[in-house]
């Protein structure tokens, strides 16, 4: 079969006219072919083209290259999920957003619970005047000793809402079904209708713990469409803050995992050290999560020499503390005994589901956007290929410990020389490239985050598609729970620590 998907680059806008517009059959065949050859889905979504036609667009990645193609969306089509698992959630999302039915889909259920954008008949038969939970199915199990545990949406801690339905036999989990959507804010359609001055404020609030990851994706997409080029200093500061974000989240979660196995010293120390990393971001931009730092064209704050030395000093003090606490955590036999062989996800399952980030690397998939599709300062950094093989909680914890040490090294090296950047202010009043497609990818701390923007013939945003890494990885958590004791749910959950709001958008 002739290859017709078009190679594109991370963060480079292309004319939509150049993106191959295939027949649906060719589109489906080639997409499935690429996935069965080891390709992975980065984006797969529907959009309303000018003139009212609904179209499909896919962006795939395969061994270091990105490919795009589109087609007209049929109202009903044979589900790609029947051929390849990784389309499963994307097809449900397309059905929910645009009322397109994938026939033969193995589990055609709503994703976030909202009426479709076209006002056509709902694929799921839901009445959205009715509040969530509406009428939709859950997996059911029956037989002696079989029972269900339902948790949420309001959880016991200070955390985001979601519904978890455990099908159990005794203490053993047969299946965990995760129903999200409670955090749905309608961000994607909002972005195409608001005054452009609101764009960065909205995108940095997709997921607060991934503020830098998502605002980088957004800024790079806007830069590609507006022809803006951030200066070197801005690239360095972006890289530095993305690594600080990774550090804060990994350190915090490692502490939480320690708390979950009732080993309290690292739990408390990590909680405190996480704050120290957030406070480094606060020092740079006045906000602990990096809100207000990244803007199209660069960054809003400079890194003065005083600030650089202050940050280097703080990191120098923190580094041995972090090393010692992580070593205490990893070398305590009772901790290790709880983490090893707990919640194992196989290499094959991770491959089929397309798990990304630490969740994927824990299962032997070394994919890392920083190495494969580098942007910002990563083009100048050497990110080693690294993965664990066991796919259990221990592997996820090990990967995250490694990344903490690696990120400290990156931040240290970036702080060695002066960072010179001219801060940018508001979005410049210049036009946005018309009839264009741009896709951006960044390795946020949970893995591959991606934004995709399509513009219309007048240079307005036609479609804004957001994909948080959690969109791939929530199913990894479900798989980890299979045949695992229900009391090990917290460990598996924390070792993934996925985003509800990033998923729900």
């Amino acid at each position: 079969m002739a290859m017709e998907l078009m190679p594109i680059s991370n963060g480079v806008a292309v004319s939509r006219k150049k993106v191959p517009h295939l027949s649906f059959r060719d589109f489906a065949d080639q997409t499935i072919q690429m996935v069965s050859d080891g390709g992975k889905v980065v984006q797969f979504f529907a959009y309303p083209d000018e003139g009212g036609k609904v179209r499909l667009m896919t962006v795939l990645r395969k061994s270091g290259d990105l490919f795009a193609a589109g087609c007209d969306a049929p109202d009903v089509y044979p589900a790609l999920s029947a051929e390849a698992t990784c389309f499963h959630l994307f097809e449900r999302e397309i059905a929910e957003q645009y009322g397109i039915r994938p026939d033969g889909h193995p589990w055609l259920k709503m994703v976030r619970y909202h009426a479709n954008y076209r006002g056509v008949t709902d694929v799921f038969g839901n009445d959205y005047a009715e509040d969530i939970p509406g009428r939709y199915p859950y997996y059911t199990v029956s037989g002696e000793g079989v029972h269900e545990v339902a948790v949420g949406p309001v959880h016991a801690g200070v955390i985001e809402p979601g519904h978890f339905r455990f099908n159990c036999i005794g203490e053993r989990v047969l299946n965990l079904e995760i129903q999200l959507g409670y955090q749905h804010r309608g961000i994607e359609p909002l972005l195409t209708t608001v005054d452009p001055k609101r764009l960065s404020a909205i995108t940095e609030n997709i997921a607060g713990d991934t503020t830098i990851g998502h605002s980088l994706c957004h800024a790079q997409a806007m830069e590609a469409l507006m022809g803006l080029v951030p200066d070197d200093g801005a690239q360095t500061l972006r890289t530095l803050s993305l690594e600080l974000e990774r550090l804060a989240n990994h350190v915090g979660d490692l502490g939480a995992i320690s708390g979950d196995v009732a080993f309290l010293p690292p739990a408390n120390y990590c909680g405190r050290m996480r704050g120290d990393f957030l406070n480094m971001t606060l020092l740079i931009c006045g906000n602990r999560f990096g809100k207000g730092l990244v803007r199209a064209g660069g960054v809003r704050f400079s890194l003065t020499e005083d600030l650089r030395h202050e940050l280097a000093g703080r990191l120098g003090e923190l580094k041995p503390q972090v090393r010692h606490v992580l070593s205490l955590l990893m070398n305590t036999p009772s901790v290790r005994a709880r983490l090893e062989d707990c919640g194992r996800v196989s290499f094959e399952d991770a491959d089929n589901l397309g798990l990304v980030g630490p969740a994927g690397r824990a299962c032997g998939h070394p994919y890392d956007v920083r190495r494969v599709f580098p942007t910002a300062g990563y083009t100048r950094l050497d990110i080693p290929e690294y993965s664990e093989s066991t796919g259990d909680v221990w592997a996820r914890v090990s990967v995250r410990c490694q990344e903490v040490l690696q990120s400290i090294g990156i931040v240290e090296s970036l702080l060695e020389t002066a960072v010179d950047t001219t801060p940018v202010h508001t979005l410049p009043k210049i036009g946005i490239a018309a009839d264009s497609l741009v896709v951006t990818l960044n390795e946020a701390w949970r893995g591959e985050a991606s934004h995709c923007i399509l513009t219309d013939s007048a240079g307005r945003l036609l479609r804004y598609k957001i994909k948080d890494p959690s969109f791939h990885n929530w199913h990894g958590l479900s798989m980890a729970l299979r045949n695992t004791g229900i009391s090990d749910f917290p460990l598996n959950n924390k070792s993934h620590n996925l985003s509800y709001c990033g998923f729900d958008v």
Binding site: R112, D131, I132, P153, V154, A156, G157, V158, I159, E160, P161, G181, Y182, Q183, H184, R185, G186, I187, P189, L190, T193, V194, K197, R198, S200, A201, I202, N205, I206, G208, D209, T211, P265, P266, N268, Y269, G271, R272, R274, L282, L283, C285, G286, N287, R288, F289, K291, G292, F301, P320, Q321, H324, V325, S327, L328, N331, T332, T426, S499, C501
Partner: protein, 247 residues
């Protein structure tokens, strides 16, 4: 064991002396805004125009801290000639109208409902409900339990069940899909109860204003006793608000 002890010594004692000893935030932190009433009209309009949140009323010369995300665009565009953000993080208010400010805020401790201090002054148990936000507010509420802030030393805790709670802290713009669960949680809390709205989203819908999927302000659904501005509010803002309002 030796390793545990070594780490313990290395970590040291970290709990802040607040409120007895002050905590200062860095220069780039943006807290309570100060407004210059003598600023030229065109400067004020420029500030209002640049605001992504339409938080500035150029005619009344006010800034609505309920809508403000403290991004600082208004300060930067006019070099602070109209709005200047101070490092003062004590910005919570008890009345929604007090969020609209010219730069001065009422003393929260004196404006607090006195019966709350009587009921909850020695022990306050709160149920947090996250309803559609970005999880940053939740994260900066969670850190109140870490050693630096150590909220429990003031007799304030977050609890798992609304039945055990004296009140509710709500974050997020109350998404349509969370509304029922939020209202049911409120119902489950015994009287007398407190409702705290934390963060720009819970105060006004935040950056998601205009989306049909959210509520533009928790006070449209429930009576709110305490409003904590910020995106997210700094943990010190939370701490100051809780201590001033209830202690």
């Amino acid at each position: 064991m030796l390793s545990i002890l070594k780490n313990r010594f290395e970590q040291g004692y970290r709990t802040s002396g607040y409120p007895k000893t002050p905590v200062c935030l860095p220069a780039r932190y943006r807290g309570r805004p100060e407004l210059n009433m003598d600023a030229p009209v065109d400067v004020i309009h420029a500030c209002a125009d640049v605001c992504p949140q339409e938080a500035i009323d150029p005619v009344a010369k006010t800034l609505d801290m309920g809508r403000c995300m403290f991004c600082g665009d208004c300060e930067r565009i006019a070099d602070g000639r109209f709005v200047r953000f101070t490092q003062n993080y004590e910005i919570a208010v008890a009345k929604k109208t007090d969020l609209v400010t010219k730069g001065t805020l009422p003393d929260l401790a004196r404006h607090a409902k006195q019966h709350f201090k009587k009921y909850f002054g020695r022990s306050l148990q709160l149920r947090q409900v996250s309803a559609g936000g970005c999880n940053a507010c939740e994260a900066d509420l969670n850190v109140l339990s870490t050693p630096f802030f150590d909220l429990a030393r003031f007799g304030i805790n977050f609890v798992a069940s609304p039945r055990h709670a004296d009140g509710m802290v709500v974050t997020g713009p109350v998404s349509r899909n969370m509304k029922t669960a939020l209202l049911q949680t409120y119902e489950a809390i015994p009287e007398p109860k407190v409702v705290i709205a934390a963060g720009c989203c819970a105060l006004s819908g935040g950056p998601f204003q205009g989306s049909p999927e959210i509520t533009e302000g928790l006070d449209r659904l429930l009576p709110v006793d305490l409003f904590i501005p910020g995106c997210p509010p700094h943990p010190m803002t939370h701490l100051h608000a809780l201590l001033s309002f209830f202690k």
